[in-house]
Amino acid sequence: MTERKVTFTREQIAAYAEASGDMNPIHLDDEVARSVGLPGLIAHGMLQMGIAATVAAGAAGGPQRLRRLAVRFAGMVVPGDAVTFSAEPAGEGKLEVKAVNQHGVAVLTKSVAEYGA
């Protein structure tokens, strides 16, 4: 099993916002996030997926081998959360991908990767 534990920071979320172009203020501004009913600013689901993909790539033998990645965003990730991302074999060319926070709650569910040569 390949695993990576990431403690999310505001700086990392802001860097992802900048690099991805997703500058939605719910990822950058606590007040705006609270005004729409969130606990404060939250990480992008796509940042979680991006990290999950690096773990799946490690298990697949390199990022260029990934052929498919599907995730369900099941829980919010906020700065300070420590999320363990893992990928484990689930049959020929298939991986089961998981992301679980420090409370044992899955933030990505029903997540799978496929890879090839």
Partner: protein, 128 residues
Amino acid sequence: MAAVAGRTYPAVRFEIESERVADFARAIGADPSDGVPPTFAAVYSLGVTAPQLFGDDEAAVDFARLLHAEQEFEWRRHPRVGETVTSQARVASDTSRRGIRFVSFETDTSDERGSIVCRSRALFVIRS
């Protein structure tokens, strides 16, 4: 709120630039020397087309109430730095149940020869 299932949006061209790729790779903790990270599709595929949906007055997607519930990418190959790709999106389905709207948004990204590089499927959930 108007259901817009079947709607397609104009194709969008995007050049995959090395600096942007390196910044993206660092932000997800990938090695920038490994080439274009697979989920850079969040930029060249979903990222260039989702604003078309969000900016579509007839689709009337309330961005503040939107959750990205699911995402899937399928790659035929991974594009290289310096390539220009073209992404075209459509609303695959648009349904509402008990005041919650579900929009399935699909984007096909092709290379300059017209071959598919990546298919993206996003499920957006919009609370009323």
